[in-house]
């Protein structure tokens, strides 16, 4: 069996697996946000950056290979990951206490995980469009972190190409595939994978607000590492 080491532990891998795949299968948590094992790896959020033989790489896109010595859970990396999480917070408008996703949001959960106590960077307060046109789905771009999970899900699973990214740099933003640019005029349906997959509160299903009170939700009581390994790890039933 071929192996790599992660933080000194020997981890088996199969040909074609990424470092992230191998880690999850062995129940080793590498923080991640734009990665979801159901979709093609993307490598954009950079939370899963690890050191491989001294070089920084994204664990979700880097193929595992014999001889890799991976550092994952170091203070240096976790400090950087906290800063990257803070960047995502200040880039958008995240008013967590009033957000329907609070407690189920992976961005917020990573904030907890890294013991993030403030936003650290100055807020950008960008002006972003809210799209409430669709009868069943709300798109609040204030909370979008540009992970492209909805883009990938709509393209690869739903085969509808409802979402895409436009703009460049700090002006990058999510757009909708319809003549008006509005969700109501797109072919999106509430059962689409693209709706379910959003890790934050940018895409929300309407008519189901606050069914579970804030404070009693998933990440209110469980660390994201624990949940990730339970649902995406080796012991999960995927």
């Amino acid at each position: 069996m071929k192996t790599i080491t992660i933080d000194g532990r020997s981890i088996p891998f199969e040909e074609g697996q990424t470092i992230m795949d191998a880690a999850l299968a062995a129940d080793v948590y590498i923080p991640h946000l734009c990665h979801n094992p159901e979709f093609t790896p993307h490598g954009s959020c950079k939370l899963c950056n690890v050191k491989v033989n001294g070089r920084t790489c994204s664990a979700c896109t880097m193929l595992a290979a014999e001889g890799q010595d991976v550092i994952n859970n170091s203070k240096e990396l976790n400090d950087a990951r906290r800063a990257i999480t803070q960047m995502l917070f200040v880039e958008g408008n995240h008013i967590c206490p009033g957000c329907e996703k609070s407690g189920n949001c992976q961005l917020q959960a990573l904030g907890y995980h890294f013991n993030m106590l403030d936003a650290h960077f100055p807020y950008f307060y960008p002006r972003r469009e809210v799209d409430a046109s669709h009868p069943d789905v709300l798109l609040d771009r204030d909370r979008c972190i540009l992970c492209e999970l909805c883009v990938r899900a709509s393209r690869d699973v739903d085969h509808k190409n409802v979402f895409d990214i436009a703009g460049r740099g700090i002006n990058a933003h999510l757009i909708v595939n319809s003549a008006t640019g509005k969700l109501a005029d797109s072919v999106l349906e509430v059962d689409d994978k693209a709706v379910e997959v959003c890790p934050v509160g940018a895409i929300l299903v309407k008519h189901h607000g606050y069914e579970v009170p804030i404070g009693q939700r998933l990440y209110d009581h469980h660390d994201i590492a624990e949940i990730s390994l339970m649902t995406e790890g080796g012991g999960s039933d995927e």
Binding site: A80, A83, M87, D164, G169, I170, A172, N177, S178
Partner: protein
């Protein structure tokens, strides 16, 4: 849009789609032509393209909004862009811009109400030795002066067609000041290919190997090794791409090569094609060099006529190769080889995850060699003169010569070719520079050196450069320079990865805060760690180098930063009084109680 316009637009898209054979990889070329005709990409065109190319319309909008030269809202019938490079600023760009805007009655970035004109900034146009420069409807104008601006205003207001503008506006000089191995002689067109056919592909590849040629685009990868990897990679097609994106501010040597040595560049591509087994090649020409498109296309046609391109090249059965020119649309990131390939495929220029590298998975997932213009020109010369001819010049790890494009504070800006190993001091003497603050070697992503370092040498061992060499004399403000570079990176970040997308903007804002005298010691500490984070954790070379200007100058000139700091511990990141403006407008108040003092007087 009126219905006749809609019909016209649909018909135009129809002809384009026909011309480009309904191929979605041609999207950017198609969009450029639409932009040219309508000064934007109208909704009707997006609609028609989406249905006929079977692309989601969001994908098309995404592409338009990615490239600086494509727009969803109309630009002026005259779209004037002034180059924002530091070298243009040093030649007085800003006052010309203000002058032009005032005389035309436009604000930068906003099309005049009558639709006649728009004026805006654009990243370095690669004319730094003859600036301030700009683009009018995509065509380069040089040596702008207030006199030229005064002449330009009526031409625009009176709708004089560009073809009737005075030709001196568009004059572009090569300014070759020092020639060596490559620039001294031009091999006869076909000479390299004749050598190739005489000696065989293996022998020629060995010759390139012997020359020690390394990539001239920046990274310095061994060229023979790249070609060999690609040749050995499996795929049902192989491709050669010449990277003529030349976006690094201060670099303009590829422009001169394509202006005066293009035969040699095409020859290098054809040589590479034979060696790796490619039948198709692309020249990715930056949009700013659009004026070169026609002459280059004409040259390709000539080469076809001479049997140097096309089928059975020089009579060798099965030696089939042709070259297509793709014009970029304003995005520095498209110089990064995998982003360039995405752009060639008709997409946003987002760098791919690597590995796999283009040599195995490039254009359309096939093995692809991407080389810089100068690398390919050198390869052609090596085929003619032999590897030893090249390897005899230079240093242990950097063989041959390097073409520099020199600009800034010196008497003779222009093109200089030097053997690797040449000390910086000699270069400064040749171009007539003195009393310097320092030199930016390799462009904003490169290295800033100060006078104590002028014994350092040109080469991959010490000072590597893609060609940019910007000289600053002691009258220049270091923070102005660093600010210009930092704004450039924030503007050109593709937005894919968090550290660069958010980080370059944070870095820009923090630097501006310090530069404008509002920074504190805490901000400087913050800036340092932000720089390290962006450098370490970004996805591609743009992010890896975007913090270099700050890191390098903070190391050498900490005082220049510290002098600008405020003595207080904390300074708000935003303007308290400014934040009340909306409230003042809403309440119609402007009395003293409606204002907040930022700091206690």
């Amino acid at each position: 849009m009126h219905s006749t316009r809609v019909e016209d637009c649909k018909a135009f898209v129809e002809t384009l789609i026909h011309r480009y054979q309904c191929n979605p990889t041609e999207l950017i070329r198609i969009l450029r032509e639409i932009q040219d005709r309508y000064r934007h990409v109208p909704d009707a065109a997006i609609e028609a393209l989406a249905s006929q190319l079977s692309l989601p319309r969001s994908r098309i909008v995404g592409v338009i909004e990615f490239y600086s030269f494509l727009h969803t809202a109309p630009r002026g019938r005259y779209d004037v862009l002034l180059s924002d490079s530091i070298s243009d600023h040093m030649l007085g760009k800003q006052s010309l811009m203000d002058d032009l805007c005032r005389k035309l009655g436009v604000a930068p970035g906003v099309t005049r109400a009558d639709g006649q004109v728009s004026v805006d900034n654009t990243s370095c146009t690669g004319l730094c030795d003859q600036g301030p420069a700009g683009l009018v409807n995509g065509y380069a104008v040089t040596r702008l002066t207030s006199g030229r601006i005064d002449r330009m205003v009526p031409l625009i207001n009176e709708s004089v067609p560009l073809a009737e503008w005075p030709s001196d506006f568009f004059a572009i000089d090569d300014n070759i000041r020092r020639a060596d191995l490559l620039l001294n002689e031009r091999p006869e067109p076909g000479a390299a290919l004749a050598a190739l056919l005489e000696r065989g592909a293996d022998a020629l590849l060995d010759e390139i190997d012997r020359s020690g040629l390394r990539g001239r685009g920046g990274a310095g990868f061994n060229t023979a090794m790249k070609w060999r990897f690609c040749r050995e990679a499996e795929g049902d097609a192989h491709y050669v791409v010449c990277n003529a994106d030349e976006g690094e501010p201060g670099t303009f040597k590829d422009r001169v090569l394509l202006d005066s040595y293009a035969d040699q560049v095409f020859e290098g591509m054809t040589l590479c094609a034979r060696i790796i087994g490619a039948r198709r090649g692309f020249l990715y020409l930056r949009g700013e060099y659009r004026y070169l498109l026609k002459p280059l296309q004409d040259l390709l046609a000539q080469r076809r006529q001479k049997g140097l391109l096309g089928d059975d090249i020089l009579g060798a059965t099965g030696f089939n190769f042709d070259i297509d020119i793709h014009l970029g649309a304003g995005a520095y990131i498209c110089g990064e080889e995998s982003a360039l390939i995405e752009s060639l495929e008709g997409k946003r220029g987002i760098p791919r995850n690597r590995p796999p590298y283009p040599v195995t998975h490039g254009y359309l997932g096939r093995p692809t060699v991407v080389n810089n213009v100068e690398t390919l020109a050198a390869a052609a010369a090596i085929a003619v003169h032999g590897g030893q001819w090249f390897a005899a010049v230079g240093t242990a790890k950097s063989k041959g010569t390097k073409i520099l494009s020199i600009c800034g504070d010196c008497a003779r800006p222009g093109i200089y070719e030097y053997p690797f190993g040449t000390p910086i001091r000699d270069i400064l003497t040749d171009c007539g520079a003195g009393g310097t603050l320092g030199i930016q070697v390799g462009g904003p992503s490169g290295t800033f050196i100060e006078p104590g370092e002028y014994d350092r040498r040109l080469g991959f061992e010490d000072l590597a450069t893609g060609g940019s060499f910007m000289i600053f004399d002691a009258s220049r403000s270091l923070l102005d320079i660093v600010g210009n570079f930092t704004h450039f990176f924030a503007h050109e970040s593709c937005g894919f990865c968090t550290p660069c997308r958010v980080g370059t903007s944070l870095m820009k804002n923090t630097l501006d805060k310090i530069h404008s005298g509002h920074g504190t010691a805490g901000d400087l500490v913050e800036l340092r760690s932000l720089c390290e984070l962006i450098k370490e954790h970004s996805h591609c070379g743009l992010g890896h180098t975007a913090a270099n200007p700050i890191i390098e100058t903070l190391e050498r000139f900490p005082d220049l930063y510290e002098q600008r700091l405020k003595a207080i511990v904390f300074e708000p990141g935003f303007d308290l009084d400014g934040a009340l403006e909306a409230a003042r407008q809403l309440t119609g108040r402007d009395d003293s109680a409606a204002h907040l003092q930022q700091v206690d007087r």
